[in-house]
Symmetry: C2
Amino acid sequence: MSRRLVKRGNTGSGVGRSAESAPSEIRQQILKTAIRLFAQKGFRGTTTREIALAAGVNEVTIFRHFASKQELYSAILEVKSTEAGLTEWLVDLAQFEQRRDDEGLFLFTASNILAHYKRDADFLSLKLYSSLEGHELAQKYREMQICPLFRFLRNYIVTRQREGAFNQCDPDIAVQAFLGSVYNHAVCLHFSEVDFIKLNQEETAKEFTDFFLRSMRPAPGRKRST
Amino acid sequence: MSRRLVKRGNTGSGVGRSAESAPSEIRQQILKTAIRLFAQKGFRGTTTREIALAAGVNEVTIFRHFASKQELYSAILEVKSTEAGLTEWLVDLAQFEQRRDDEGLFLFTASNILAHYKRDADFLSLKLYSSLEGHELAQKYREMQICPLFRFLRNYIVTRQREGAFNQCDPDIAVQAFLGSVYNHAVCLHFSEVDFIKLNQEETAKEFTDFFLRSMRPAPGRKRST
DNA sequence: ACTGCAAGCAAGCACCTGCTTGCCTCCTGG
DNA sequence: CCAGGAGGCAAGCAGGTGCTTGCTTGCAGT
């Protein structure tokens, strides 16, 4: 009963240890491995023994860092829902907004969404599992990442509509249509469910953007005007 | 060792039995219950005891009908991937096609997709779980249901482009954008992740359709320029 | 009445899985 | 040099879980 439950925080007292072992490096290693495995097989489908084996630590060590498997999962949710995600480039979007660069703004958005989910593929699985298994990650992520982006885009569209640069239409529908098509494509790519679109990531983003803007613009780009 | 493994087919010899017990009614009951539970908690998250209890049968009975839990799951996939799905209204779409009724065709599509996934909500979960857990349902469903629909729409778009009624653009992207936005919305609804769009199902379908067609039509404002 | 199928029921086996305990080892800081 | 923190290792417990076995019961058709 002497030293149950380490609780990472206080380990930060000394940086030391040897060369390769930073203070809470093992905790990070466990987290990282657990993220990968939970993403692959879901919460219920992953055993703590598996995590330990894959992380190269003893199973007991896991329970010394996390009170339970559930708490390990919660720690992951904490990490994943707070770490840099979609919102980190809201500031970049603001620049496009100032320049009224419609193409740039939506292309940047689409492109980054595709890149984001490709880079952090585990996150997509994790999010889907959490939706299905009824955990809170999806909702938290939605509130902290999706909603701000959604509101920004919606806001931009409304502005452009007032300026007469965009068609009058339900801005919610427009945003939903744009994000939906891009996001859905990202999911399809994730599951290797796509053989329709042969384009690479950048080209795809460009096509979706063009398609979207063609719907928003009062005067469609007449490419063949005799 | 006398009668292990019943294998439904041959039970259909006589219709008889009593009033409430049709030949393979119990098998159906098991399947139906299993579908619901697998959809709620995934394959790994559902126990055979649970299924038996919920179906009102003895656990042993399950294994008399299905060699293993895995085979029960396979039977479900069989049912779900062959039963009436998106393709059942391809014939209706053909009528819209003959009339060149763009609005009707895409509205019908969007509307039915939303209705389909709302009516058979379990299927959506089942499909997502199967994608994540690496089963074959998603792929099978894709080949048998999504692809035909995709090809039909793609084909229609190409035709209308040739006729000059639709803009020149990558038809794959167009279909992907349309289906993606609608499908994504269905998923959002499924997980109660939507508070952006207040419209009901019909209105939403209509809005997505309008949005899509506005991008496809050469002359957005004036419908009859001739 | 006899036969045979289908389902129920009680029990249980073998393995898995989250989690615990006790003890030993290595490293570091004072 | 020593105290103490952090991890390894071996063992195991309690409950769950897929699946089996042996038996009984009820309902048909001949």
